[in-house]
Structure formats: structure tokens, C-alpha cells
């Protein structure tokens, strides 16, 4: 593994609800290398969404620390965190595009936030749309696009700020298998050409298999197993990993059948 870029130290997070509290994270620690594509897999309720949301402090952990390039996010004040987030990209399951804005305006949005002049941001946004293969959709609105196209707009948008890490929260879960492939290929290309670190959160084994080099299996709010993807696929040790593989096999069969 290359030098550590993102370090998660002993994260705890409990959500209190009316009918008792839920321990979403129970002492999660991870080290993610610079330029690596790291997978976090778990079934729903495993705590993976909470974990990824702690990586840019959309969710504040109760205890523990999140270090990016050796710098603690929790130590930043509100304004510092806001500026730091501009370099932490995030894409989502439901894309979260501005529905009332065109594709081009969506990609311009992060640049607008940073106060880049209009002409410059349009040029940059167009170049990014070119890169994700959607230049001809610049004037379209998100409602006119397919799911895969929306996610590509979201990727162009997230790249506009030249992030050094990209968090993908179930980014392919709303897409069909074929579109998932193209999005995953795009993520790989981005990593290869820009050298950014990518964290992929998913409940699907095949996603991990295709893009990640290392993976952590999350279950019940803690890491059950961690290692290279090949290793965990060939010799799963934890019950959680075995169960995820079993589900993946069943899905495979149902596709074949």
C-alpha cells in the first residue's frame, strides 16, 4: 500500500431515536492509501453510509478521528471545514443534481461556490462534460437524462473542484448492471489519470470486484475483515464476508437463469 491518505481512527457514532438508540459505528479504524480505490462493503444497516458521511463530516462522529493527509478534519473550525470539503468530492446513489438547472450549470455550481469567474467556469465545465462524454447534453436538464448520464454529470461536477479524494456512496446502486460497468470504468480512468484516492461504498460484491484493490467488510458497525479484494474473495474468513459472497453468487445465478 502506498502512503496513507485517509485515516479513520476508532470512530463511534450512535443515533438516538424515539424507540431506543442505534449504534451505527462501533470503533471503526481504516487506513486508505493515496491513489488507491478502496471498497467498503456491507449489507444495509451495516453502518457504511454513516462511515462515508463521517469521512467529510456530513455526519460528526461521537468519538474517534478522521485524518486526511495527516490533518484532522475534526480539528477544523466551520469555515476551514467548508473550504477543506471543496477538495473532498462525493457522489451519491440518487445523484443529487439541481433539477432546475441545466447540466452545464450543475457542473459550474462547485466553481461558482469557489467564486471562479463565469467565463472560466463555463469553459472548465464544458471540458469536464467532454471528458465524461456528455458535452452534447450541456443544455439539457437532469430530468431529460438517464440514470447513468445523471451520474456522469455528477462525476463531472465533482471533478470540477479537482478533489484529491472521491467518496462514492452507493453511486451505482440505482443503476442497471450495464450502466454500473460504464460508471465503474469511468471511476477507474479518473483514478489512473488524476491519481486521486477513491472510496467506494456499496452492498454489491461485483462492484468491489471490478474496481477496488482493497476492501473492508463492515457489519454491525464494525470492520469484520479487511484485506486485498482477491484475498477476501478467495478466502473469506468472517461470517459477514461469506454471507456477502453467497448473496453475490445467488444474484449471478439469477442473471444467468
Amino acid at each position: 500500500m502506498a502512503e496513507t491518505y485517509l485515516e479513520i481512527r476508532n470512530l463511534y457514532k450512535t443515533f438516538s431515536a424515539k424507540n431506543g438508540s442505534v449504534e451505527a459505528l462501533k470503533g471503526v479504524s481504516l487506513s486508505i492509501g493515496k491513489g488507491e480505490i478502496f471498497g467498503v462493503i456491507g449489507l444495509s444497516g451495516a453502518g457504511k453510509s454513516t462511515l462515508v458521511r463521517c469521512m467529510n463530516l456530513l455526519e460528526r462522529p461521537d468519538s474517534g478521528d478522521v485524518l486526511l493527509n495527516g490533518e484532522s478534519l475534526l480539528a477544523l473550525n466551520k469555515e476551514q471545514l467548508r473550504l477543506r470539503r471543496q477538495k473532498i468530492g462525493m457522489i451519491f446513489q440518487h445523484f443529487n443534481l439541481l433539477e432546475q438547472q441545466t447540466v452545464l450549470e450543475n457542473v459550474c455550481f462547485p466553481l461558482e461556490i469557489r467564486g471562479i469567474p463565469k467565463k472560466e467556469r463555463r469553459e472548465k465545465a464544458l471540458a469536464l462534460l467532454e471528458k465524461v462524454g456528455l458535452a452534447e447534453k450541456a443544455k439539457a436538464y437532469p430530468s431529460q437524462l438517464s440514470g447513468g448520464q445523471k451520474q456522469r454529470v455528477a462525476i463531472a461536477r465533482v471533478l470540477a473542484n479537482e478533489p484529491d479524494i472521491l467518496l462514492c456512496d452507493e453511486a451505482t446502486s440505482a443503476l442497471d448492471p450495464e450502466t454500473t460497468q460504464t460508471i465503474l470504468r469511468l471511476l477507474k480512468t479518473i483514478r489512473d489519470s488524476l491519481g486521486i484516492t477513491i472510496v467506494v461504498i456499496t452492498h454489491e460484491m461485483r462492484v468491489i470486484q471490478q474496481v477496488a484493490t482493497r476492501v473492508a467488510v463492515l457489519d454491525g458497525g464494525s470492520v469484520q475483515e479487511e484485506g486485498s479484494v482477491v484475498e477476501i474473495f478467495d478466502h473469506p474468513k468472517s461470517r459477514a464476508a461469506k454471507r456477502l459472497l453467497l448473496i453475490a453468487d445467488e444474484e449471478e445465478e439469477s442473471y444467468a437463469g
Partner: protein, 221 residues
Amino acid sequence: MLDETMIHMLLEGIWDTCYMTLVSTFFGYLIGLPLGIALTLTDETGIAPNRAVYRILNVIINITRSIPFLILLILVMPLTKAIVGKTYGSTATIVPLTLAAAPFIGRMVESSLKEVPAGVIEAALSMGAKTGTIVTKVLIGEARTSLLVGATIVLGTVLGYSAMAGVIGGGGLGDIAIRYGYYRYDTGVMLVTLVFIVAIVQLLQGLGNLAARKIDHRKQS
């Protein structure tokens, strides 16, 4: 029935009604829009949760909204007198109308802004957007259709209130309807004014809906 003075009076009534409605709605939004934004931001699920602020605003709105408009009209007369110099006529009516519209607008704005999906706000937060940018670009920008529909409803309601002010000589079509229909038993004139009131509401509603559809890009076009 419809001689020249009558026509002149009706035209003046239409003008006064439109004047009261538009100006009061405008001032109402000056208070109500920030109020609705504050409610959205400080609510538990908002991006700047603040229980105390939310509760205080909530109570103020609930109290002012539960005062019947006719009572409010009388209650604020000293204030109206201080601001306008008199308590009758269409300009004077703008004061209580604005006060009645503002909390109502606050609620309408709040409910529109809360329709914006949490995920879109979260995406903006993850990009490092300032609260101000989130308010203008994400909340207001994404909820604009709903805000416009809300404004149309507000205009209709304020127009209805303005007619009520006719009871204390508030001016406009409501005033004419009450003077002729109630005090002089001239049902004909009352019905004519009624037709105009309905027509204005219809016109506003139609224009509002048309504009709302025009600026909405959420659906397949």
C-alpha cells in the same frame, strides 16, 4: 344601474383592490420570505438547527395566524394611524394586510423550501457551499416552482382579506360590495363587484400557474 359614476367607482375599486393586494403581498414577502428561510434553516432537519429560534418563530407565527383578520384590522389601528396617518382607505388597509400576510407567507415559504430533497442540500454542503449559497441556489432555486404557486395562493388570500377590510371602509371592491350590498340593499352592484373579484382571482391564479409551469424543469419536457 351602470351610469358613468358607477363605472368610474367600479374602475377605481378594481384599481384599489389590485393596489392593496399587490403592495401588501410585496411587503408581506419582505417579512415572510426571511421568516420562512429562518424556519427552514433552524428546524431540526435544517442546516443550522436551533431549537430556541425555531420555537420562538413558530409561536409568533401561530399566534398571529390565529387572530381573525377583522380583529387584527381593529387591533392594529393605532399602528396604522402612526404609519399612514389615518385608519380608513386603501393605503391604510395595507398595514393590517401586510401583518396578516407575513406569517402566512412564512409558512408557505417554509413548506416550499422543505420540499427540496435533503440529498441535494447535502451535495451542496459536500462541495463546501456557504449557507447563503445554499439558500439562494439550492433552496430557493430548486423550490421556485412551489414558491411561485405559493405566491399565487397568497395573492388570492390577501385579495380576500382586502375585501373584508371594506367593513371598516378599507377601500376597493370589497368596500363597494359592502356599502351597496349590505347598507343600501343594492344587490345588483354587489353582484357586479363580486364578479370582478372572482375575475381578478381567476386571472392571478391562471397567470401564476402558467408562470410556474414555465419555470419548472423537473419534468420531462
